[in-house]
Symmetry: C2
Subunit: 346 residues, 2 copies
């Protein structure tokens, strides 16, 4: 088995995933290697399509880029369980297999999220002590520093142990990826103190209060996700997914409203040309899902998910995210921290 | 027992609730009666404080305004269960009692949401066939027509029967309050088709598909809440509360970003004075929780909740909402529709 040379970074890219396939993944790969001489990329997918896209980009070959053929492609419409069973030679699956075989240190995909979660879980397995994977992303805040939110959709039903493990993982991500010292960890909850039914959240709160390794600051409400009160926000995958996608919906609504207000404004034609691109960039900025990669954590390997509609910039950002996680050895750090927490609890 | 004269509208107002108390509720009450000669309001709360606020507003008495003394006040920090047990002469409780005694046709409060839900549930009881109350609000969309979303925080744990009942109630609200013909009803869900654990959502989807009285259009994701795809969006109270409050957070973030972008812009001082109020109004517009009243439905009476930080305009809007629900006899319509649906199902 080929082992990764310790001095170099090696990452597999699912070239066929996302709405644009090689059209956005190839330019991102070329920029990624040109800005990082230590980085080698394995471009996984249809050799002909990849080679063609490379040629179209003006290079036929590159010493840091290597193509690995995969005959299949996971479609955005594929059901996760079907993709898992029937697409064993898909670009997504082969990229994950390369992580499992330790031929690369991480993989990046802009493909079908459900399929990626199912395949990654199956191929890479969970870290010891972690029961379920989580999707985590760094969201913007009004104070400048990002907030890490998890789970954004990998695990729908979470018991208190799972949420506790998410809190540990989120804290490690904030420390390692953003160098936030003793990150403030909060649980997403409703405003009312006495809420019925969220027993698992109350139990998680108790677990976190008792854990000296976590800087737990208590509950947080939806209106404070972006206020900078917390560095890490923990919730189950259903709630996190709805919250993140609602952000996208609100951003669109606000931009639409603003455009309408400008239309009705006498001065619209005076400065509309300047405001519109500003609005667009702000809309993109608060759709972190569109911009940053989301990491699938809790697994024995590094998997970064770029948005399905990823542009070159978004896919490049996901590659950089993977590089950072490799350099900081995030899975090993999560494992260490969890062991430490569990020893302290025992 | 005094019965309401059929030709007139009579509504009780909790004057002491909300952050501003009579300072915002009195001006709203005065405007409400001046714009609607059929409307009588019972101002519930501390007589001295109410009388003082009336005098400060330039009127000592008004034929459509009547004061009803209540010696207690539910504080925003009161736990719902404690308020329910110990604040039986609070302005909130007395206003609800007036609805129960049919001395008024509705009540409006800007007070502690949890306490209002607990008290309203206890005092008014559920309509036959409805198991749990729901908070519903009309949210703005990019296409202009509003979308009714429920539950926004009254019932945290919802089984499929409860969610189904919410769908029926939401459809009635959209028809009666906004005159939307055969409103399109959707269930809030994650993107993935095969999601684990949301069995109650799948079961609800099946129940709705089989119900010919509901124009059920299937699942909707968070990014489509404001797109106008649906007229009614159904979810459990935890998810709805997080989604609504997340909107508030995103709106703040976008406005902050915009302000920062303006600051860095050369032309900021040229048109910043014009943009800022626009931004503020847009921010308010997408915080419907701040602007419109949310109705607590499923009960044997009409209860409208205004935001805790309600301004005069917001409280006035909540009074108008209560008037509309009285005129359209929303609880009776919900009861009728539910009976119809259940007969069809049987």
């Amino acid at each position: 088995m080929h082992q990764v040379q310790p001095s170099r970074l090696k990452i597999a890219l699912d070239m066929m995933g996302g709405d644009h396939g090689p059209l956005s993944t190839i330019p991102a790969a070329i920029t990624a290697v040109s800005e990082n001489p230590q980085l080698d990329l394995i471009l996984v997918g249809d050799t002909v399509a990849i080679q063609q896209a490379l040629t179209d980009s003006g290079i036929s070959s590159h010493p840091q880029l290597q193509i690995q053929h995969a005959s299949q492609q996971v479609l955005m419409t594929d059901k996760p369980s079907v993709a898992l069973r029937t697409k064993r030679d898909s670009s997504m699956r082969v990229a994950l297999d390369l992580v499992d075989q330790q031929k690369v240190q991480a993989c990046v995909s802009a493909g079908n999220t459900g399929a990626l979660i199912a395949m990654a879980h199956y191929v890479l397995k969970m870290l010891n002590g972690i029961e379920r994977p989580a999707l985590i992303s760094a969201l913007p805040t009004t104070v400048g520093t990002p907030v890490f939110m998890l789970d954004l959709g990998a695990t729908v039903n979470c018991d208190s142990d799972t949420l506790f493990q998410f809190a540990v993982m989120g804290a490690v991500m904030a420390e390692e990826v953003e160098s936030i010292h003793q990150p403030k960890v909060a649980l997403l909850n409703m405003g009312e103190e006495e809420i019925k039914g969220s027993d698992q959240i109350k139990r998680t709160s108790l677990l976190l209060s008792e854990c000296s390794d976590i800087n737990y600051i208590g509950y947080i409400e939806g209106n404070d996700i972006f206020s900078g009160k917390a560095d890490v926000i923990v919730c189950d995958g259903f709630v996190g997914n709805v919250a993140l996608k609602t952000c996208e919906g609100v951003a669109k609504l606000i931009i639409k409203r603003f455009e309408q207000a400008l239309k009705n404004s006498m001065s619209a034609h005076l400065f509309g040309w300047m405001i519109k691109p500003l609005l667009k960039s702000i809309g993109t900025g608060v759709n972190p899902d569109h911009y940053n990669g989301a990491s699938l954590i809790g697994l024995r390997g590094i998997v970064v998910k770029s948005h399905g509609n990823a542009t070159k910039e978004a896919f490049l950002s996901a590659i950089r995210q993977a590089v950072r996680e490799v350099e900081r050895q995030v899975p090993a750090k999560i494992k260490d921290r969890l062991e430490h927490v569990l020893i302290d609890k025992a």
